[in-house]
């Protein structure tokens, strides 16, 4: 149905090798998220899969068949763009029905599918509006609707939620997750939002400069980052990476400890001064300056009455400490 295999896929723009060579298997029905810093090649990789860009070398297989040379329309994939890319002059209904019209589907059947997609996405009462008359979330749903109707082998999403505001992002995120559960279609999803990656993915692919740093389930990446790059990239706020003396104590180049794994305790081994205290009610985030260690970010649950300038003691939960070698690789 929707298994996608990349074999030594390589893409250069002119001289620049944006993707030096990637092997990746996306299993049928999987929800795979690509994350990575801006410019690392996430979109390029997605567009290669979609067929919107030609590979420089390598093979892309869809369902075991070589699709490297197929045009986008023939690959049976659907894509949802960051800017939605709705057709502004068509009504919602026409937008959703466009792929069916292009496929030459008969009107009755198309009508049924459109109605079904609209129902799933709660768009039924907007079918006659133009995209310009819709809110951001509704537009995003139309874009998804347009992808759904074709019943594609896989969905490709390129930062589909980044133009939405926080609240909407949360609810759309859940809608997409539910959609995946309902359809069980392969989905490849590009984002740079931590929470989206962690909550939606079956499997996260961390990219850096066109290379895969690690592939794994969200909790795998959280608990066992393969290297400092992944360790720093996954988790919010970022893991504290500490080098120097503290790391030498345990005989490695760098140790890492997440903000939520540091307890505030007067008798903690690290004594420091609060630089910034952000009180969210549910949590308090502290930036603490610790002599000889550096600035540590600490998350304390609930309201902690600390302010700028207060002295605190910090205790890392030693079983949660990550250790990395000089090459940045994790040491088991």
């Amino acid at each position: 149905m929707g298994k996608i295999t990349l074999k030594q896929v390589n893409k250069s723009f002119g001289e620049v090798a944006v993707i030096p060579g990637i092997d990746l298997v996306v299993e049928d029905g999987e929800f795979v998220v690509f994350v990575g810093p801006s410019g690392c090649g996430k979109s390029t990789l997605l567009r290669l899969i979609a067929g919107l860009e030609d590979t420089t070398s390598g093979v892309i297989e869809i369902d075991g068949k070589d699709a490297t040379a197929l045009p986008p329309a023939k690959r049976g994939l659907a894509m949802v763009f960051q800017s939605y890319a709705l057709y502004p002059h068509m009504s919602v209904k026409k937008n959703i029905g466009f792929p069916l019209k292009m496929a030459g589907m008969d009107a009755v059947e198309a009508e049924k599918r459109i109605a079904n997609a609209a129902r799933i996405l709660n768009l039924t009462s907007y079918l006659d509006r133009r995209p310009g008359q819709l809110s951001g979330g509704q537009r995003q749903r139309v874009a998804i609707g347009r992808a759904i109707v074709r019943e594609p082998a896989a969905f490709l999403f390129d930062e589909p939620l980044s133009n939405l505001d926080a609240a909407l992002r949360v609810s759309m995120r859940q809608e997409i997750t539910e959609l995946h559960q309902a359809l069980k279609t392969t989905m490849i999803y590009v984002t740079h939002d931590q929470v989206e990656a962690m909550t939606m993915a079956d499997k996260i692919v961390v990219l850096n400069a066109g290379r895969i740093e690690q592939v794994g389930s969200p909790l795998e990446l959280y608990h066992r980052p393969a290297n400092t790059f992944v360790a720093g990239f996954i988790g919010s706020p970022k893991m504290n990476l500490i080098g120097g003396e503290e790391a030498e104590k345990v005989g490695v180049a760098t140790i890492g400890i997440r903000p939520e794994h540091i307890d505030v305790r007067a008798d903690g081994p690290w004594q420091g001064v609060v630089g910034l205290a952000e009180h969210l009610g549910s949590d308090t985030f502290l930036k603490v300056e610790v002599e000889g260690v550096g600035t540590l970010t600490v998350r304390a649950t609930g309201e902690v009455r600390l302010r700028h300038g207060d002295r605190v003691g910090l205790a890392p939960q030693m079983d949660k400490v990550h250790r990395f070698g000089a090459d940045g690789k994790a040491i088991a």
């Binding site: 979609a50 994939l77 057709y87 347009r146 074709r150």
Partner: protein
């Protein structure tokens, strides 16, 4: 930004344009209206007086009048169709990545820089002339009789000349419209399985509707008044085959020196222009809403 003071400022700032244009329109219009009811022939200053509706009835009774009306609309319509269709195709073509794009564009735009009388006389003499024109030479080289463009297809010849002049304008506006189309929309359509034609028909064309509207609107305004090209080439002939309303007026004003009739013709032309404008607005005005 709609504070009271800015609204007042806005009124003051449009005032000069409105006042000037009002003067520019009203003064000649009133004078023309006045003359249109006068007997006024430049060369017979001794014969003057009120003419009643005579100047108008002369037009309506003239055997050429309806032909001229038809030709006027044919000229406007023909040029519009040609420039919009060809303009769209050319815009699509030169929007593609090609080598030497800068030079290419200037070549395409060049006819727009040519003064209309020059354009007309160049095309007439160097190209369409049945003995010395390049087209004739081509015909003969291919073993055909030269085509008598101005004699056998006078209206088409005029339309072709005017189209050549206006094609760059249309192309330019349509090209820029094309460039403002987000590539993601095209890619989305591609993913949706649209063929090249499908993308053009359902995505590109609708996107360009507003630009097409602008082209139609602006060109119509200019085309409705065209007579110079006709004067230079066919002189409205043979017979009245290529006479348009402005050319008819031109003949009355310039050749016959009958100012009263020319004025009446001017008023008729204004009315025609407004009718055209009305349908234009009705038909395509909705694309101008932003």
């Amino acid at each position: 930004m709609s504070t009271h003071s800015s609204r007042i400022a806005a009124r003051i700032m449009v005032a000069p344009s409105v006042a000037l244009l009002l003067l520019w329109m009203v003064v000649p219009l009133v004078m023309t209206l006045y003359y249109s009811f006068r007997l006024y022939r430049l060369l017979s200053p001794d014969r003057t007086g009120w003419a009643g509706m005579r100047n108008y009835t002369w037009f309506f009774q003239s055997p050429d009048f309806w032909l001229a009306m038809g030709n006027t609309l044919a000229l406007v319509g023909g040029v519009l169709v040609i420039t919009v269709v060809l303009g769209t195709l050319i815009a699509l073509l030169i929007d593609q990545p090609v080598w030497g794009q800068g030079v290419l564009r200037i070549l395409v735009i060049a006819p727009f820089f040519v003064m209309p009388p020059v354009a007309a006389s160049i095309l007439e003499n160097l190209f369409m002339h049945p003995q010395n024109g390049l087209f004739a030479a081509v015909s003969m080289a291919l073993g055909y009789e030269p085509i008598l463009y101005l004699q056998d297809y006078p209206m088409w010849s005029v339309i072709a000349i005017v189209s050549w002049e206006w094609l760059p304008f249309a192309t330019l506006i349509l090209l820029t419209a094309l460039q403002s189309l987000s590539s993601e929309q095209i890619e989305a359509a591609e993913m949706d399985g649209a063929s090249a034609f499908g993308r053009f028909r359902y995505i590109i064309l609708p996107h360009m509707m507003r630009a097409i509207t602008v082209v139609i609107l602006i060109q119509t305004i200019f085309l409705l008044g065209i007579f110079g090209e006709i004067y230079t080439t066919t002189q409205g002939g043979p017979g009245s085959a290529s006479t348009t309303l402005p050319y008819m007026i031109f003949k009355q004003a310039i050749v016959a020196k009958d100012i009263g009739r020319a004025a009446a013709g001017g008023i008729i032309a204004v009315i025609l222009a407004n009718i055209v404008a009305f349908f234009l607005m009705r038909g395509i005005g909705k694309h101008l809403d932003t």
